[in-house]
Assembly symmetry: C2
Homo-oligomer: 128 residues x 2
């Protein structure tokens, strides 16, 4: 598990680049060699390798060299770690929305109570 939280920086930074997102997407479908991964991209190999390296230091990708070919695979943990972050934020966000909604409901009820006391003023007024 390690400290995934502190590496959110690197994970999000890694995913901020379209080339690297494409690599991740490709690796979701299964492992591949550096050459296979690089093929669809119009980019010099050393440049491409930098992307691989960024993905590796972020923990999103692991690789292993056997013979002269390096095989890359996705490391799901990091992806899940990032996804968790969103879910945590959403939890807070939704809790707030719930509270807000409750607040609005309360206002609404109060308004209705007031309206019940002064039925003549409940019709449309004007403007928004």
């Amino acid at each position: 598990m390690a400290n995934q939280l502190s590496s959110l920086d690197q994970i999000f930074a890694a995913l901020a680049d379209p080339t690297r997102r494409a690599i991740v997407m490709r690796l979701c479908a299964g492992e591949a060699s550096v050459g296979e991964l690089a093929d669809p991209f119009d980019m010099a190999l050393p440049s491409f390798m930098k992307h691989i390296h960024v993905l590796e230091t972020s923990g999103l990708v692991q690789s292993e060299k056997s013979g002269r070919v390096r095989t890359c695979r996705l490391s799901a943990d990091a992806l899940v770690g990032a996804e968790d972050w969103f879910q945590q934020q959403r939890a807070v966000w939704e809790a707030r929305l719930d509270r807000f909604e409750a607040y609005v409901m309360k206002l609404k009820k109060e308004k209705e109570r007031t309206a019940a006391k002064r039925p003549s003023r409940t019709t449309k007024r004007k403007g928004s």
Copy 2:
């Protein structure tokens, strides 16, 4: 909705910075002025404003100025858009795992069938 997909670059880049993630987290709990947001950070205001601006152009945050105070709020759409990306990747990833598992099961069965033919070799061998 617009083109959230093409702005994943900006969303992830925005979230790659701890200051900006903290701002997002703070805004999950409700809107706040620039000053309130900036307060916990030991950073010059212009520097901080850059972060706000990055968050705004990424679509994660919206702001509005009334009088001399600018109020910021979270724009959930962008967050959800980014979360969706993870879920899509996970879907592909899990589909692959399922296929892989099926493959492993197949191998296992084949092995068992082979083992049934040569029962003497099925005991422990050594090492991992």
